[in-house]
């Protein structure tokens, strides 16, 4: 081939690259590994991820739920995972129809009118929601509750820092819900009130009431959900009056995979459709009147609008949105309610058992879904570390990671995958560790 195009050596392919810029040495990266070697290398690395094999009660934005076997089979279809963004509808209807179904399912679950084709994840979806609220209301102040996932708040901070948006924080009360201070925080410069429900502490917020408060001042209510399974049981934010609902879709058939790829859900009201960030798929027809689907309202996007686009997002989380779609359609109307029910019931059981434990308490009294804050009679990090080493259980997340002053608190998550016996051994483990450490400190 080289000769055919009149070249005599591969180097000539790079004739337009100044000689002094051409790399004259091999890259200092390893030599090629065969499949056998690579797989054994990565399997070896995997064994050092000890948390992956342990029964666990970690949640806080990433949840281990049952994933039907067919999900991976379907997203592993060559036609889905090796396709590009569906720019050519005539040969991309598979992807397009799947996204249309995804958008519909997101609307049904959140109780909203329109949803997009996905965002990077829940945290960036929230940041984009805040930017959208500013566009919609032309107001520059945003009120956010401290009980939102701390990493989500960090991401929002990063996104809004140069957008001239002032982020005001409101605390939470002794029940674990947003504090009354919210009333005074919202004023007529407020673009939106942002709350998470169930919030970072697992407490369910009174969204209907908060929507009222926001709307009274002409502000939007943005609701963010990190545990999307809760939508199978809790009143959908849309039905409570939310204007924008964003969520992390990882709970819908997506593996934990050390934090990604996940999928951000983004839903709002019809009237804001043209303000939505990201891709939208809509119905369309050909000359013969055959129904199909296309990417639509592209004028919002950077391909056309350049810097005036509603967002810079281009590649999103297509395949993960597909996984979520397969999950939702497989679990279906009954399954989604059943999973939610089991999560809530098992968490309630765990709460009861732990509440009865000598020295332990549950600081927050608000209704919860499947996460709860536990207050231990000792340092939570130490407690969890020993629980892991002595009982081989990952007991949850020490809140000091995000709230340095909450030394004895940890966040516990229970899902349908946690069997009763796992919960029981967690409870026993907690008791044992505390007992032992009291002994040692006592001694």
């Amino acid at each position: 081939m080289l000769r055919q195009i009149g070249l005599s050596s591969p180097d000539e392919l790079f004739e337009t690259v100044p000689v002094e810029l051409r790399l004259t040495r091999p890259l200092d990266t390893p030599a090629a590994l065969s499949e056998i070697e690579l797989l054994s290398r990565f399997r070896g690395l995997a064994t050092r991820n000890t948390a992956a094999t342990r029964p666990g009660f970690l949640g806080a934005g990433a949840y281990s739920h049952y994933i039907p076997t067919i999900v991976d089979h379907i997203i592993s279809r060559s036609e889905f995972f090796t396709a590009y963004t569906p720019y050519q509808p005539e040969i991309s209807q598979g992807t397009l129809q799947a996204i249309f179904e995804f958008q519909t399912l997101v609307c049904q679950l959140t109780g909203m009118e329109v949803a997009n084709a996905s965002m990077y994840d829940g945290s960036t979806a929230l940041a984009e929601a805040v930017l959208m609220a500013e566009r919609v209301t032309r107001r520059s102040k945003v009120v956010a509750c401290d009980a939102i996932h701390p990493e989500y708040l960090e991401v929002v901070n990063t996104y809004v820092q140069h957008a001239g948006i002032h982020l005001e924080r409101v605390g939470f009360d002794e029940n674990g819900q947003i504090s009354k201070a919210v009333d005074s925080a919202i004023d007529d410069q407020t673009a939106a009130l942002v709350v998470q429900s169930p919030n970072f502490f697992g407490c369910v917020e009174d969204i209907t009431m908060l929507a009222q408060k926001a709307h009274d001042r002409g502000a939007l209510l943005i609701v963010v959900v990190t545990e999307a399974i809760s939508l199978g049981l809790l009143k959908p934010p849309g039905a409570c009056g939310a204007d924008i609902v964003v969520a992390e879709g990882q709970s819908f058939g997506v593996p934990l995979s050390f934090g990604g790829p996940y999928v951000g859900l983004f839903a709002t009201l019809e009237k804001y459709a043209r303000q939505i960030p990201g891709r939208l798929v809509g119905e369309a027809f050909d000359k013969e009147g055959r129904r199909g689907f296309v990417l639509t309202l592209a004028t919002r996007e950077q391909h056309i609008r350049r810097e005036k686009a509603t967002s810079n997002i281009c590649t999103n989380e297509g395949l993960i949105a597909l996984a979520a779609t397969v999950y939702l359609e497989t679990m279906g109307r009954q399954g989604l309610q059943e999973v939610a029910r089991q999560c809530a019931q098992k968490a309630a059981y765990a709460a009861r058992r732990i509440g009865e434990l000598e020295g332990f308490s549950l600081p927050f009294s608000a209704p919860r879904f499947n996460e709860l804050v536990v207050r231990a009679p000792m340092n939570a990090s130490d407690l969890l570390a020993r629980l892991a080493s002595q009982n081989n259980i990952t007991g949850g997340l020490a809140l000091s990671r995000y709230f340095p002053d909450r030394l004895n608190d940890f966040l516990l998550c229970v899902t349908e995958l946690n069997t009763r016996s796992e919960i029981d051994s967690l409870v026993e483990g907690l008791a044992k560790v505390v007992a032992n450490s009291l002994l040692t400190t006592g001694a």
Binding site: L13, V114, Y152, G260, P261, I313
Partner: protein, 510 residues
């Protein structure tokens, strides 16, 4: 009509309704173990007013085999890399190794929670560390963050780093006067959008008739003194290497700005030349392009941001660093100058596993060979189409080449028609009408994942479309003819958008 069509013919294709129209009340496709704890009255858990009352009306009720057939049928409507060459310019649609998929599914990675303690995730942290090292070597830029989820996300991260650096360097007041980001008119739309997101105003740099950055225009704009940086793509979106890159960097630097490189086209450079050596300060990569993580019909991606030591303090938190105590790794959150987090947790980790597997299975020699093959294939196409299509820039292209519909428009056949007709020939069309500065652009990127036979098939198909454009323009204008559905009326779709399914007699969804 399709006498010259060799790559495809037509065959049965299954129809499939929307899942909502297949739903039958009472059907289930799942089974869960029975609840194994004694049940608490649900109101004691969540008060009635906080509970859903719509019984999830409208959510589909189907069996497992219904779901399988639904998606298997729909999948057959898609084109994909595994079916053939996918020459979307700027998208680098290369083969996605099955091995990398297997790696990402190793339970020790797939089941690992992002908030597991450092002790419990050493293998995962090492993967991040190694990949960062490799990307630093490949780009010549020593500091790397894998947190951005895609190219545009990496752009935003990089541009924010530029801004944070200038703020720190010049101090609030002075830096406030540096809020201009220079962007070539040929740049991808995400560039200005990302700059805007970081509070910059965009000034556009003209391209020369040769398709390269207009240095005079650059000098002129730099003279204003308000330039924070220059975002350029190299090779640029016309597939041409910016030969004057070093001078460009010098000009921008002397004007007090930084150079941001859009690395979407790194498939032309890996193992051959390094942005860091060119004077670039910060770059983003698209692991879902250059490093073959599957594009998945629109993501997920991963858009690492690589920068100079000077810019390192501004990278997102947390960073993965070696522990000084032992061989292990830890997370470093203590970076006061960081722009902050751009995503929860660590980014699209699964893509990092695949990219690392790609780099380690190719090896350093294999990476360079891939680059050579990618450029050779583009050159071969540039050569093969020269007689039939107008090529606006004579310069030898790198990994992709742009042609136009100039000759065909005379007969009223436009780029869109050529693209649609190419579908009948069994190929996914090239990128069209991008970059915007080339009227009727057709940007063709074969990548290294296509053999001689299929390249020739592609060239022949384009040639015969060129013939058809002369002899039977209608045929081309009405293409595609062999697909299960024809051109869709996108204008109408945008006028009255239908963005979701609605029950025939809608009762609302909650």
């Amino acid at each position: 009509m399709d006498s010259d069509i060799t790559k495809v013919t037509t065959h049965l294709s299954h129809n499939e309704a929307l899942i909502f129209d297949r739903s039958q009340s009472g059907r289930v496709g799942y089974r869960l173990p029975p609840l194994d704890v004694d049940e608490t009255p649900i109101e004691q858990i969540v008060p009635a007013e906080f509970q859903r009352t719509d019984d999830l009306e409208g959510v589909p009720e189907v069996s497992e085999v219904d779901v399988i057939r639904h998606f298997i049928r729909m999948s057959t409507w898609n084109y994909s890399i595994d079916l053939g060459m996918y020459p979307l310019g700027s998208c680098t649609m290369k083969y996605n190794s099955r091995l990398n998929e297997a790696v990402a599914r190793i339970p020790g990675f797939a089941n690992l929670h992002p908030l597991a303690s450092e002790e419990d995730a050493q293998g995962a942290l090492q993967v991040i560390y190694e990949l960062e090292q490799h990307l630093a070597e490949i780009t010549g830029l020593p500091a790397v963050s894998l947190q951005p989820a895609a190219g545009a996300h990496g752009e935003m991260t990089g541009v924010m780093i530029v801004r944070a650096f200038i703020d720190a360097r010049d101090g609030e007041g002075a830096s406030a006067r540096r809020r201009t980001m220079l962007i070539p008119d040929s740049a991808h739309g995400t560039n200005p959008a990302s700059a805007h997101l970081s509070g910059f105003s965009v000034k556009t740099i003209k391209s020369t008739s040769a398709g390269l950055t207009d240095l005079d225009h650059l000098r002129q704009l730099c003279a204003a003194g308000d330039v924070a940086g220059f975002m350029l793509t190299n090779p640029n979106t016309l597939g041409l290497f910016e030969t004057k890159i070093q001078e460009i960097c010098r000009i921008v630097h002397e004007a007090g700005g930084l150079v941001y490189m859009d690395g979407a086209n790194m498939n032309a450079l890996v193992g051959v030349a390094r942005p860091g050596d060119m004077g670039v300060d910060v770059i983003h990569l698209n692991l879902h392009k250059t490093f073959s993580t599957p594009h998945g019909g629109g993501g997920p991606g991963c858009g690492p941001c690589c920068c100079t030591k000077e810019l390192e303090p501004f990278l997102p938190v947390p960073r993965v660093v070696k522990r000084d105590t032992d061989e292990g790794y830890r997370l470093d959150f203590d970076r006061p100058q960081s722009i902050g987090r751009v995503k929860a947790f660590f980014g699209n980790y699964g893509m990092m596993l695949r990219a690392l597997a790609y780099i380690q299975t190719h090896g350093n020699d294999g990476l360079r060979e891939a680059t050579e093959a990618a450029v050779l294939n583009a050159r071969y196409i540039a050569h093969g189409l020269a007689n039939d299509y107008d090529r606006p820039f004579p310069t030898p292209p790198m990994h992709e080449v742009v042609f136009t519909d100039k000759r065909q428009t005379r007969k009223g056949v436009h780029t869109l028609d050529i693209a649609k007709r190419l579908i009948d020939y069994g190929f996914h069309p090239m990128t069209i009408y991008f970059p915007l500065i080339v009227p009727g652009a057709m940007l063709i990127e074969p990548t290294e994942s296509v053999g001689r036979q299929e390249l020739d098939q592609f060239i022949d198909s384009m040639a015969s479309i060129a013939r058809e454009a002369v002899e039977d323009p209608e045929l081309v204008r009405n293409a595609p003819h062999l697909t299960r559905i024809g051109r869709l009326d996108e204008a109408a779709a945008a006028r009255r958008p239908v963005l979701r399914w609605q029950p025939k007699t809608s009762t609302g969804t909650a």
